[in-house]
Symmetry: C2
Subunit: 424 residues, 2 copies
Amino acid sequence: MNSYQNLSMSEQKAEYGAVRARFEAFKSRGLKLNIARGVPSKEQLDLSQRVLTDLTAPEDYFADGVDTRSYGLSDGLPCAKAFFAELASAPAENVIVGGNSSLNMMYDAVMRTMLFGIGGCEPLVKQGRLKWICVVPGYDRHFAICEQMGIEMVTVPMLADGPDMDAVEELVRDPQVKGIWCTPKYSNPDGTTYSDAVVRRMAGLKPAARDFRVYWDNAYCIHDVYGEGDRLAPIYPLAVEQGNPDLVLQFMSTSKISFPGAGVACLIAGPNDARDIRRLLAVQTICPDKTNQLRHVRYFRNAAFLKEHMKKHAEIVRPKFDAVLNALDAGLGGQDYVRWSRPKGGYFICLWVMPGTARRVVELAAEGGVTLTDAGATWPLHRDPDDSVIRIAPTRPEVAEIAAAAELLCVAVRLAALEKLMGQ
Amino acid sequence: MNSYQNLSMSEQKAEYGAVRARFEAFKSRGLKLNIARGVPSKEQLDLSQRVLTDLTAPEDYFADGVDTRSYGLSDGLPCAKAFFAELASAPAENVIVGGNSSLNMMYDAVMRTMLFGIGGCEPLVKQGRLKWICVVPGYDRHFAICEQMGIEMVTVPMLADGPDMDAVEELVRDPQVKGIWCTPKYSNPDGTTYSDAVVRRMAGLKPAARDFRVYWDNAYCIHDVYGEGDRLAPIYPLAVEQGNPDLVLQFMSTSKISFPGAGVACLIAGPNDARDIRRLLAVQTICPDKTNQLRHVRYFRNAAFLKEHMKKHAEIVRPKFDAVLNALDAGLGGQDYVRWSRPKGGYFICLWVMPGTARRVVELAAEGGVTLTDAGATWPLHRDPDDSVIRIAPTRPEVAEIAAAAELLCVAVRLAALEKLMGQ
C-alpha cells in the first residue's frame, strides 16, 4: 500500500473506512493493556529473588567491619562503592551509594546545588535566571525536576550518535546554563547510545559556568537486549583526561537489574564534588539502608556476574521488543511519514508518527484499551512541538498482549494520519 | 563525703591526689569504650531478625494490590501508612511513609520549605532572615540541619514537663520564626516527656508566620524502659481540635524498634501539607523501598504487637540504664554541683556537671578510654553556654563495660570539678 500522503482523496476515504472498521473491531475486543512505563515484568523481578533471601542470620549482615543493620556510613558501604566503581570505571572513593532511587539522588543533587551551590559557587537560588539543557526527546522525570525547581529548559536535538554536540558546546558558553540531562546508553525514549566521540566531547566541555554539571543518568548501562548490545565509553576517565574531573555527576542503579522499587542507587562525582556532597549528606541522613546494599553486592558480586544476569533479562525482554518491531513492520511498513527506533537494549521503542497526530494516536489507543505514555511527555513541559513522538514501553505485559497492543497502535497511527490528511 | 565546693583548700588538694590516683589506675586498664551515640546493641537488633527473613517467595512481596518490589506509591504502602497512623492517632491519609531515615525526612521537609515554601507561603530562601526554636539541651542532628540551611537558632529551656511554653508562645509572635524542634517523649538527651498541658499548648500555638511548623520528632514514642513508662498525648487530635490541622509535622521511625540503618520512617502532616508534600515528593522519587515497609508491617502487625516487642528491648536496655544510674549514685552521690536524669525510657541519661567543666570531663574520659558525645553537642552550634551538659548513651556496650565507663566518668567529673575549684 502506498504511503497515505500519496493517496488520492477517494483512496484516502476508502482507506479510512477500512481502518476505522479495524479499529472498531479492536475496540470490541475490550483490551486493557498498559505499555506506558518502563517497568520490568514479574518474571524479570523473580530473577533476583535470591537478593532478598540469601542473607538470613544476623552475622550475614556484617560486612566491611560493620553491622549493616545499624547506623553509620552516610555515603554507603565500601563494598557497594567498589561494586559500582567497577561498572563506572571510576575510583571507589568517588562513589556515594544511597537508597533505592537514582531519581531521588539526581533530585537531591540538583536540590543541593540550588540551596548550597556546587564547586564553591553561589547557590543557584541566588543566581537569578537558570537554564538547563534537555536533549529531546528525553525522560519526563528529568524535565519534571527542572520544572519544579523553576529552571528554564533549553532543548537540543538527539542525533544518530547522541546529542547535537555543536549545539551543546554553543549553549554552555552561556553562564546561566547549569546542567544537561543525559541518558547516554539506550536513551529514554529513543534508544540512542552516545558514540565515543560524543562522550569525549561531553567530557571535554568547557562551560562558562564553573557550576555547570553533566547529569549522566546511566540507567541502562548493562541493559543489552540484542547480542552484545551497544558499547558506551566510560565518561569519568575521559573527563579526567581532559582536565574536567568534577564535570560529571553520574547516576546508576540496580532498578532494572534487581527491583525497580527496592534496588540500590549511586552517585559518582568528581573528587571535589564527592567531598562536598559527603559533607552535606552527613547532615541529611545518618546512613542509607546498608542491608539492601549488602544483599545486592553479595548476590551480584561483580560486573562479570552481572553481565550473565543481564542475559536472563534479555531472554525475557527480547521477544517483547520483537513483538513490537514485528507489529510495526507489518502494520506500518511502507508508510513513510512514520519511523521507529530499533534499539539494541534499554526499555523503550520510540515511534515518530505523522507530525500533529501523536496526541490523537494516544487518545485513539486509549479508546481501544491500550494505555501509552502521554504524548508530549518526552519533551520539557510536555510540549512536543511536532506532536509526533510516542514512547512504547513493552517490558511488563505478556508477549501476546504486547503484540495486540502494538497492532492496535498501528491502526491508531493510520487512523490519526488519515484524519489529519482528510482535515477532520 | 562533702560536696567539693564545701571542702577547704587542703581538703581539696588531698581529694585531688586521691581522685587523680583513681584516674591513673583507670587509665592503666586500657579501656576502649564508646557511650557516645544512641545505638541499640547487637542483641537488640537480633530481636527483629525475622523482619529480614520472614518474606521469601515473590508472592510474599505482594500487598495492597501491588508488587512491592516494583515501582509506584511515592508516598508509601497503604498498610504501612495504617501501621504508623495507629501509633500516631492520626488518619492514614496524612501519613507519608519513606525510606530508612526519619532524619532524612525531616531534612527534606525543611529543604522543601526552603525551596518551595509551605502552606502556600513564599519559599523560605526568599524571606530573608529565618529563625528556629531549639529546645535545649537537644539533639545535635536537628541543630545541624538549621546550621546547614543558614537558619538562626533561638534557644528555649527544657523544664520538668517539656519546653518553657511561655517562652515558645512569645517567640512565635515573631514572623521570622519558622519552626521548633521537639523530641516530645524521652527527649534527647534529657529524657523529659512533655506533659499533656505542654502538648496541648504546643498544638494550640498561634504563630505569626503561617509557615511556622512544629517539627515533632517522635523518635521514642514506644521506647519505654521502666514499667509502663511515660505517657505522651497524641498531638494530631489536639492540633485539629484547636483549629491547627496543619501546624505539626510529626516524624516516626522503626530505627530503634527494628534496625537503626534499615528500618522504616514516616512523616505525618496536616491534610493540606500532606497534599502539597505528596505533589512535590512525586517529582523527587518514584517510590520508597516498599519491600522494607512490607517486611516491617508483616512482622510488627500493629501497636499491640509492638508494645510486646518493645518489652524485649526494655529487658536488654534496663540493666544498662541501671548500671549507669547505680554508678552515678555511688560515684557522685552527695556532690550537689552535679545532677542527672532518671528517664523511664528512650536512649539517654543526661548529666549536668559543674558549670565550666563538661568539655574537660569529656577530655578526661577520652584519656581514660571512654568516648562520650562531644560536650556542647546538645546545644546549637555546639555552644553550651554553661559547659555543663553531658549526654550518656549506654545502650550499645555490655553491662560490665557500661558500669566501668560510668565509674570512670564519675572520676572524671570529680577530677574536672576539683581542677576548676583549685583554679588549675
